[in-house]
Amino acid sequence: MSVATHKLIKGATGDWEMVIGMEIHAQVTSKSKLFSGASTEFGGEPNTHVSLVDAAMPGMLPVINEECVRQAVRTGLGLNARINLRSVFDRKNYFYPDLPQGYQISQYKSPIVGEGEVLVELEGGRSVTVGVERLHLEQDPGKMLHDRSPSLSFIDFNRCGVALMEIVSKPDIRDAEQAKAYVTKLRSILRYLGTCDGDMEKGNLRADVNVSVRRPGGPLGTRCEIKNMNSIAFMGQAIEYEARRQIEIIEDGGAIEQETRRFDPNKGETQSMRSKEEAHDYRYFPDPDLLPLEFGQDFVDGLKAALPELPDQKKARFIAAFGLSPYDASVLVAERESAEFYETVLAKLADRARDGKMAANWVINELFGRLNKEGRDITGSPVTASQLAAIVDLIGEGTISGKIAKDLFEIVWQEGGDPRALVEARGMKQVTDLSAIEKVVDDIIAANPDKAAQVRDKPQALGWFVGQVMKSSGGKANPQVVNDLLKSKLGI
């Protein structure tokens, strides 16, 4: 692991360094809400997934959804974090129409998950470890609808009470690239764990980004919080803009006011939402309707034992077992679906140890390349893992050459079908019959006596002969056989 070097910003008075911390809100994957039995399904008619508890009717009481607790613990384990066997739900009190209780049930002083860390890989093989301060469970509020009437606002409580995990990072992030990579990695881990679908467009994963600037290594500056970023690309822009804004203010002799800001993607700038003075006094206190959340170490151990393999472990295994390059392994594990596709290919290979690395190349170069070109993702791939494995098998066992395999891949992509049967039916098999190849070799040597003479002094010119033989065999001659034959015939 190499230590990351991060980007500094050149100001008028010298270099500046960003200090970034993040609060990620990740919607917990669960059938029902954190404290009620109402469905969490997305996209229902407004107010069709609302229980009496969600609507905060008089006398209603919250009951913790154990699945959400399991998901939070799983996530904590996936972040290599300390799991707190006792945690407490608190009320965060504020008035807003989308918050029926007049308070959000959250965890303030005693979160369910404590400190952990995330290994974040950057370009060029660099990496950085970002500390996780804590993870806690809390309720999502409802949604205000302002576009239904000119004079009234409506509220949809379907989302109200859905479980969120708030994952708070330490201020370990130093530039926009790291910030983006951190969110990408965290999202990947959550998706591997199945604890959050990571759908940022639906707002199921969103980040509040705290940005401050300082002289490299110097004392911390005053931070501003950019709220509700639900696009990784915009997050990068917002951070860059915000850091430059702060530097300008400081270099002009001003001071940064601690405040909450929002990012306007159209203008590409951050704008003030509210200052520190306008900040709420949330009057946190332990929710007396809920007992402290307690479970035993055995509960944690059980979840740990059933945890799926996570991207870091998977990457290490791919490197160790199949000799993949760290870069290729990273590409494969970045998305859960890609890794699953590759694993399925591996499972179908006739000789995994021999062809595992080749399979990775095929997945990354041919398949991903083609998918990217057509703007499709792995789940919509016309070539299945079985088909790709069959193609790799055919190469590995010497039935077809790599060049023919590319043609075969194209046929399978366009028309589908069983690759092995296609090779048979269309005569794409590599020729390994010595006598047939020998005749071609003899003919070519005979036709090019001067080149044959040259090659005895310059063995690297052998390639020309190989090319000629392959060409006249329509690419079907086994290159290894051709190579061996030429060497013996030419006496090198």
Binding site: L52, A55, A56, M57, P58, G59, M60, L61, P62, V63, I64, R91, N93, F95, P97, P100, Q101, G102, Y103, S153, I155, D281, R283, Y284, F285, P288, D289, L290, L291
Partner: protein
């Protein structure tokens, strides 16, 4: 046939079983009594049609031998309990004409066991008060008056409607709730029996919340036995309330008449207040003597943090209330007073919807939870609470079975007599009862005598966690010795 309203619940159960009368007759007798007693303002909503329908259904079940433990027994329900299809307001304007689509767990268990609902009973607004004077429906009259006086007295609070209705023979029993004494103090003021069970014994689901960590439902009844019968139906674990406890509910009635011989009764020295009326002092000694005569052993005990209980209570309860009442914002149900923007709508709605005492407590609660004050008030009060709890634990660890105290520092007082200038004057009513809520223990108030003006006085017994049975056994000893007290009808 004697007046059916004068029967105890136990007697009525027998009469119904023997077909001496029907539930419909029993229910009609009470409905007539309610109509004749409207001056007491005990009921804020009468539900005669529903009552008769439930009575007829109960009669059918009794006839076919399927009647539950409370089959055909007409009850009053404190307006803090959500009743499906029946207006539930917590006696606050802010709930307006709120009609729940759901039934509280406690009342649904009563209906399951065959009880009949006569209507909804008055209480202090959101159960905040000790005199039932803060209700948006106006004060409740106590059926008891001072000898030679026509002045209407308060029935205590917050369950003033429940206590008044039971004492005036308007219902055979009533549901009530107790956050700092709201069952026991009105019971003591009206010569009825009221028990606040252990915190977690009854489900809070469907009961309008005041202070969640202190609120507990219980019955007010005409006798100790009646209270035992009612509590058995009301109590029980409810998965919808995670603070309710999964412990089997015993047959409380079986504890009535059980020997108290050899039981150790603690007499806490800290409950002997300076300037306590001699009558209260005398009553307390009498009660102790009755228990001793029944074979119990009296021991002086110390509960050293008692004096901090009331101030700590008036931090914890308002803190929780300020948050619990945030949902009454005019957005989804109840009263809405329009404004030019959302903040103004909140302000107008809450200013118009809440009464003065509720506003006071919401403000106190907001203050003690706010940044910079939390540690000094809320956190400190919670520490005091832990110490109060430990006082009791230490006492029970020494073998004490129950603690005997006065229920209230005085008898009932006149409407408008207390708390006008200084709310603390009213808060002092709960001086003997709040400790029990702070510690989550069961406490029962039993009528024990009268003061010089002929007003009833009660004694309180405090028990070990989930040992309501001992309280019923001891309570019945006091009841037997003191006799029953019935007000002279003036309404």
């Amino acid at each position: 046939m004697t007046d059916l309203t004068s029967l105890t619940l136990a007697e009525a159960r027998k009469g119904l079983a023997q077909k001496s009368f029907t539930s419909l007759e029993l229910t009609d007798a009470h409905l007539s009594a309610i109509e004749a007693a409207r001056v007491l303002n005990a009921f804020v909503l009468e539900t005669p049609e529903q009552a008769r329908a439930m009575a007829r259904a109960a009669d059918g079940k009794i006839a076919s031998g399927e009647g539950g433990p409370l089959a055909g027994i007409p009850l009053g329900i404190k307006d803090l309990f959500a009743t499906r299809g029946v207006r539930t307001t917590a006696c606050s304007k802010i709930l307006g004409n709120f009609v729940p689509t759901y039934e509280s767990t406690v009342t649904s268990q009563l209906w399951r066991d065959g009880a009949v609902m006569l209507g909804k009973l008055n209480n202090d607004e959101f159960a905040m008060g000790s005199s039932n004077e803060t209700s948006c429906f106006g004060p409740v009259g106590n059926p008891w008056r001072r000898e030679g006086s026509n002045a209407t007295l308060v029935p205590g609070g917050s369950s003033g409607g429940s206590a008044s209705a039971v004492a005036a023979l308007l219902c055979m029993g009533a549901t009530a709730t107790d956050t700092g004494g709201s069952i026991r103090q009105p019971a003591a003021f009206t010569a009825t029996v009221g028990i606040k069970p252990t915190y977690g014994r009854c489900s809070r689901w469907g009961i309008v919340a005041f202070a969640s960590s202190l609120d507990q439902a219980g019955p007010i009844a005409r006798s100790v036995r009646d209270a035992a019968m009612l509590l058995r139906s009301m109590a029980g674990h409810d998965p919808k309330d995670t603070t309710s406890v999964d412990i089997a509910v015993p047959d409380y009635e079986a504890a009535i008449g059980r020997s108290v011989k050899g039981m150790k009764i603690g007499i806490p020295r800290e409950y002997r207040l300076d300037g306590m009326p001699a009558e209260i002092e005398k009553l307390w000694s009498e009660g102790a003597a009755w228990l001793e005569a029944a074979g119990a052993e009296l021991v002086e005990v110390s509960l050293p943090h008692t004096k901090y209980a009331l101030p700590a209570y008036y931090i914890v309860a308002p803190a929780e209330a300020s948050s619990n009442l945030a949902r009454y914002d005019g957005v989804r149900y109840g009263l809405r007073e329009q404004g030019r923007n959302i903040i103004e709508m909140y302000e107008n709605t809450r200013a118009e919807g809440f009464g003065a005492e509720v506003k006071r407590r919401v403000m106190i609660g907001t203050y003690v939870l706010s940044a910079g004050y939390y540690d000094a008030y809320y956190l400190r009060a919670q520490k005091v609470r832990t110490l109060i709890k430990k006082d009791f634990e230490d006492c029970f660890a020494k073998g004490v079975n129950a603690i005997l105290t006065p229920a209230t520092p005085s008898a009932a007082f006149g409407i408008g007599e207390k708390g006008g200038a200084d709310p603390v004057e009213m808060y002092l009513n709960d001086i003997f009862t709040v400790t029990v809520n702070m510690a989550g223990l069961p406490g029962i108030a039993v009528p024990a005598g009268k003061d010089a003006q002929g007003l009833p006085l009660g004694l309180q017994l405090i028990g070990r966690p989930f040992d309501e049975e001992t309280l019923f056994s001891l309570g019945e000893v006091i009841e037997e010795a003191a006799g029953r007290f019935t007000p002279v009808r003036w309404w």
